[in-house]
């Protein structure tokens, strides 16, 4: 509406030139982000030969699905995909449950010691014991080289606790609690039947944050896992894409030229395949993530 009333004052020539400049700049930004993405997709659908000789730019050359067939028949990749799904789903469930379990009491004004606990949490954002001291804890708990090491040591994010707590505080009125207590509800009953249904948006946001983090991270796996059977997809990707170790499928055959060429196009296909789950939920993320970032940014 401000734009409407504003347009009653005619734009000056400098303003129009400036606006045109802004649009040119944004177009350049758009292209800069888009080109590498399109380039990867185009390569992944091209023939091995075309990729290896660098013929592909933004459109597939000699279209082929060979790389995808190859990638999806590789047991190592499939196993990694499965493991990552397990870690993402399981980890998110654990993380969201624990986050709500700490954020909700901390949002209640009648909770004694909430400021002290909040300070303890915030301190962990500023200072940490470091890699090895944490490793020792995980080791002592017998979690090394187990699936637990993927979901427990990084289960709660302080940032997510802040987001959830701020949401609970600002959207659940005290009167609602008073009313529920009058009707005989306990704290847990109130949390379960009233707070959680009202907090679906924020729970969606923190669940997305945790899920994407779990899907994308490789650090914990690098540090805590030794058994390749437990590797998440990102570690498998690192081995194939960055360390150039050949996959199971490519290894049995002597390194013929064709095999080497296939290894190149396989990389592009893998990038697409591994980013697919995030891409599928991206429209959902784009809608909800912004809100969540904003809720967290409200000081309180």
């Amino acid at each position: 509406m401000t734009k409407e009333s504003a347009s009653t004052i005619a734009e000056t020539r400098t303003d129009r030139i400036f606006l045109a400049g802004v649009k040119v700049m944004l177009t350049i930004a758009l292209i800069a982000v888009l080109v590498p993405l399109v380039y990867v997709v185009a390569n992944s659908f091209s023939s091995a030969g075309a990729v290896s000789s660098g013929q592909v730019f933004l459109w597939p050359v000699e279209p082929s699905l060979r790389a995808y067939q190859e990638a999806l028949s590789d047991p190592q990749i499939l196993k990694g995909y499965y493991n990552s799904l397990v870690y993402a789903v399981g980890g998110t469930l654990i993380s969201v449950t624990l986050t709500v379990a700490i954020a909700y009491p901390l949002s209640r004004k009648t909770f004694f010691g909430r400021n002290l606990i909040m300070s303890l949490l915030l301190f962990t954002m500023l200072f940490s014991g470091g890699l090895i001291p944490t490793y020792l804890v995980v080791q002592d708990l017998g979690m090394l080289n187990t699936r637990w090491a993927m979901v427990i040591p990084s289960a709660i994010g302080v940032w997510q606790v802040i987001i959830a707590r701020t949401f609970f505080r600002h959207t659940i009125p005290d009167d609602l609690y008073e009313a529920a207590v009058l009707d005989g509800a306990s704290d847990l009953r109130f949390l379960w039947s009233i707070v959680l249904p009202l907090s679906k948006p924020v729970i969606a946001v923190i669940a997305l944050m945790y899920a994407i983090f779990q899907w994308n991270t490789y650090f914990d796996a690098l540090v805590y896992l030794k058994d390749p059977g437990l590797y998440p997809l990102q570690i498998v990707l690192r081995n194939i894409l960055i360390l150039n170790s050949t996959t199971g499928a490519a290894a049995d055959v002597a390194a013929t030229l064709e095999r080497q060429q296939l290894a190149n196009v396989l990389k592009y296909a893998l990038i697409v395949i591994s980013s697919l789950p995030v891409l599928i939920i991206y429209p959902f993320i784009a809608r909800h993530f912004t809100k969540g970032v904003m809720v967290g940014a409200v000081k309180g």
Partner: protein
């Protein structure tokens, strides 16, 4: 519970005014207050036990375990039973020729990252804010936002592929200007540029969101009156928009500068290869290699602790300076 309790207002009154009034009657002592809260809300205390235990076990026990930085750690004796060596590990580290290289590499890489990735999202947000809501604006936002959600492994591999001399398109592009193929990843001098600009590519759209929200929060009346006074778009950006997003920008800059020494492990480690190690070895990757690959736990912890303490002081210092200069900081 009997119905009479609910008639009284909850004891720890939330608003300051109410505290004053209850205090005049008779303010319950802290312990009475605590006991009453425990009795009434025991379920909340029960609920918080497990997550609280998580923080103790995975955040605070590691801090106490960091004592091995001052010890000669032996797995049999454990962190507390190992022999005390005082500052020997730190002395060894400071005397190690690699020390200055690590500090320099970490500092330059992080400072360069902050320098490049601080202003660009602001420019993007202001540019987006200038144009009318529509298909173009939405597309730019949606596309620039997307790379943030791609994993580090994938971004690094994409960068490597795009820059690779044989199959990447960057060499074809610079070839148009008559520049011969460059082995970007094999030359240590390119490492920082690759690291920083791939980071800008990945995070600019995401970072811009925060500024866009700050821009949306600016009172439209300010823009209106500026327009009536004949201010051009550029003048309004300089005198309305920029001051409006200043507090947000300060917080982000403080966090960025304050966390300089804690620059992440994930990406630097992935970009590392034997050829670029001279510039790509940073403290975080050195800690990983010393601790887990060479199993020198005490030394790795000492290096990590040095880094954490340095970072803590840096953050507090920058925050203090920001508060003095601009009046806004992390803790208002």
């Amino acid at each position: 519970m009997s119905g009479t309790i609910e008639v009284k207002p909850a004891p720890p009154a939330p608003v300051l005014k109410q505290v004053v009034t209850t205090a005049r009657i008779r303010r319950p002592s802290r312990w009475t207050e605590a006991r009453r809260s425990f009795r009434r809300h025991w379920q909340l205390y029960l609920l918080i036990i497990v997550p609280l235990a998580y923080f103790v076990i995975f955040k605070y026990i590691p801090i106490s375990n960091a004592v091995i930085a001052f010890k000669d750690y032996s797995p049999i004796k454990g962190p507390w039973g190992s022999d005390w060596v005082g500052f020997r590990n730190f002395e060894l580290f400071f005397q190690n020729p690699v020390f200055w290289t690590l500090v320099k590499n970490t500092f330059i890489l992080a400072a360069y990252t902050v320098l490049a990735s601080f202003p660009i999202p602001i420019i993007l947000a202001i540019a987006l804010n200038e144009i009318r809501t529509g298909f173009f604006k939405k597309t730019v936002q949606l596309v620039t936002y997307a790379p943030y959600f791609i994993s580090t492994v994938v971004v690094v591999s994409m960068t490597i592929l795009v820059l690779s001399p044989r199959i990447g398109f960057v060499d074809d592009a610079i070839g148009l200007f008559g520049i011969p193929a460059i082995d970007f990843l094999g030359d240590p001098n390119y490492f920082r540029h690759i690291y920083v600009w791939s980071d800008v590519w990945q995070t600019t759209g995401y970072s811009a969101v925060i500024y866009l929200a700050a821009l949306a929060g600016i009172d439209p009346a300010l823009h209106e009156s500026a327009k009536i006074d004949g201010a051009s778009r550029i003048m309004r950006i300089l005198h309305v928009d920029l001051p409006g997003i200043m507090p947000t920008a300060v917080i982000i800059l403080v966090l960025g500068v304050g966390n300089i020494m804690s620059i992440g492990f994930e990406k630097a480690f992935l970009f590392q290869n034997p050829l670029n190690l001279a510039q790509s070895e940073i403290i975080a990757t050195y800690v990983y290699k010393t601790g887990l690959l060479n199993a020198d736990f005490s030394m790795a912890t000492a290096v990590g602790l040095f880094n954490s303490v340095l970072n803590l002081f840096l953050l507090l210092g920058v925050n203090f300076a920001a508060k003095r200069i601009t009046g806004s900081g992390l803790w208002s």
